[in-house]
Symmetry: C2
Subunit: 385 residues, 2 copies
């Protein structure tokens, strides 16, 4: 993160529940701190039981979980993968590493998530996967996306980096956990997320056909996990793979966070709603758009953002907040116009992507943000003219 | 690791210096636990100053450092990479991920490191890199390897996973740090290594031409590091890459270990020499080979191994030690005959590799191994008939 003077209200502040170092000490005393140990299992079981995911594997980052997805799908050079342009580089880079051609999709006009209504026209016989990003923890329209994917026999990988504890409400009114709907899904536990491990991620496997190979890829291409369960006599090199699994030090830290997930979520969601209620009139008056939550989505308190009318207005607002010692931050620069991709892009204008790139501003949002601090931020916004 | 009953002397036991959790708490209190923070810098500077490496980057594993090497060298499908067959899967898999064809090299008859005398005949116009592995922290013959590489314009990546604090003594009598001789080098901080972070690694960059791009690949393909140094105005996607950098939680842990490197090394090296002295006559009598340290190599106390006369003898010896509650463990299974590679191998017999695969046995070696325990192990070996 950007450095902030101590007087400033930072954009983010990692929250320590108090048990992290206790659990790390326990892991070390157990004599096992490499990956796939007791705390890794606890974390994975948490998501398998509480979230009812078929199978989950902790990773060193959400980027790594996305890379595992690309390997599991056997992405080959010249295969095409559809990704929103308004996202973090890893959403695209994980597939670029396997040689994929990235086809960028514009965002919705009411939300930075990908615009599912244009998906169909982006699909070609070479399309292998669609990667919706649940921006700010707000669901993409999964029924629509899964429907397009099914009709074209294309896989869906949910980039749910922001979307722990968030839901999609399907056409039948059923609440479904984000990350658990596509063929595969990924979470991030980066320090800016709701629950954290510094760097860390989770691969969510929603299809039986992927479970066995996922574990092999995760264990550096070996069948070590099956060996330690007594399923094979000796273990060796059976597939490609990498060291995707995190240290028990990281898993022990994450476990302390998971134990407090409900408490953390309650606070963050309440902060989100307070921003949303207190800023509604002001935003309307300023021509600023507050987050729009579609009827099929829920609020998980990951992020509160404003969409300004123009780049100029955003710059003025950010400067205004800075003058009051409040750190508000912009977000992604359109990937389709990045130095790496510019020349590779097919030339389509991605209007909404560029608009969010220019106009979106994120307000401070973290567990220990006090009522007084939040009121100070709201007052500072109200004083912007 | 294998599970050991509490009465057993385990093969390995991670050592906690006492400061690890203090530093982790400090990292969390600083508000910065994602990668590339204060402890990451401390660790990297340690290796740049104490080891005089040009540039180093902490990674989530040695596998990841090897993958970064493959990306830095622009390894393409059908490029050939020469790797010993007696090594961990990651030495090969990191290059397989980029599409490389692996050409396996046999081990030396006196040492599991690659046999540099046969390198030349393995080189073809497609050879892009040679990856010597400094097995057990004992140097490969780097002058010979660098000479072959230079003549054929091939890169050298030292897999120094075992070889922290180990040296190569060149033909001019100069001591050179392992990892710092090839174009690139890698360390591992896996829990079985001399200094540990559970899972973790280091990429060592020995050529100016790689430093800038390495940092970009490490930071997920972005120029974020340059941005935070004020070298560019904004940061974005400029290259392929991944999330190779570890959490500050991991770096803080590693820093506590690095502060104690000398103390740890003194103890491990003394354990090594005590095994070597106490077992010399017994080994000769049994037809068992103790480690041979070539005149150009040093002992870093990473591992003490025995090479038995036969698979049968090794099984008997391992069983004998087990009956005395001592955990001695075998090591790699030849990669060229692994399920993944068997059909891809060119059919050459790799006699020495297979011999180490069948006959090598590793004795318990860890910082807190007591004099009494070591004597007990030595006595147990002496009672083997």
């Amino acid at each position: 993160m950007l450095k902030t003077p101590s007087s400033m209200i930072p954009f983010n502040k990692p929250y320590l529940t108090g048990k992290e170092t206790t659990y790390i000490s326990k892991a070390v005393q157990s004599g096992k701190i490499s990956g796939n140990g007791a705390y890794t299992h606890l974390c994975q079981l948490y998501f398998q039981k509480q979230y009812q995911f078929l199978k989950t594997l902790l990773t060193t980052s959400c980027s790594d979980a996305l890379e595992m997805s690309a390997i599991l799908l056997n992405i080959q050079p010249r295969d095409e993968v559809i990704v929103p342009s308004y996202t973090f580089v890893s959403t695209a880079n994980a597939f670029v590493r396997e040689g994929a051609k990235i086809v960028f999709c514009d965002s919705r006009s009411d939300h930075p998530g990908l615009d599912e209504s244009i998906l169909e026209e982006l699909i070609t016989p070479r399309t292998k996967a669609i990667v919706p990003v649940h921006y700010a923890g707000v669901a993409s329209d999964m029924d629509a996306i899964m429907d397009v994917a099914a009709r074209h026999n294309v896989a869906v990988i949910e980039d749910a980096a922001h979307a722990v504890d968030a839901y999609y409400i399907d056409r039948g009114g059923r609440r479904k956990r984000l990350g658990g709907i596509g063929d595969l899904g990924t979470f991030s536990f980066h320090e800016t997320k709701n629950i954290i491990a510094g760097e860390g991620g989770l691969l969510i496997i929603n299809r039986d056909s992927f479970t066995e190979r996922a574990e092999i890829i995760w264990e550096k291409g070996t069948n070590r996990a099956a060996f330690f369960r007594g399923e094979v006599d000796k273990y060796g090199w059976v597939d490609i793979g990498s060291s995707f699994l995190p240290s028990e030090i990281v898993s022990a830290f994450l476990w302390a966070q998971l134990e407090n997930l409900e408490k953390i979520q309650a606070k963050r969601i309440s902060l989100w709603h307070h921003y949303n209620d207190a800023l509604a009139d002001w935003a309307k008056h300023q021509g600023i758009q507050l987050p729009i939550i579609p009827p099929y989505a829920t609020v998980n308190g990951h992020m509160f953002y404003l969409v300004c009318e123009s780049l100029e207005q955003r710059q003025q607002l950010q400067q205004h907040l800075k003058s009051k010692d409040i750190q508000a931050v912009t977000h992604y620069i359109s990937l389709h116009s990045s130095p790496y991709f510019k020349a590779k892009h097919d030339g389509r204008e991605l209007k909404e992507t560029d608009r969010y790139s220019d106009c979106l501003l994120r307000l401070p949002m973290f567990y220990t943000l006090t009522e007084t601090q939040q009121q100070y931020i709201i007052d500072a916004l109200h004083s912007f003219n």
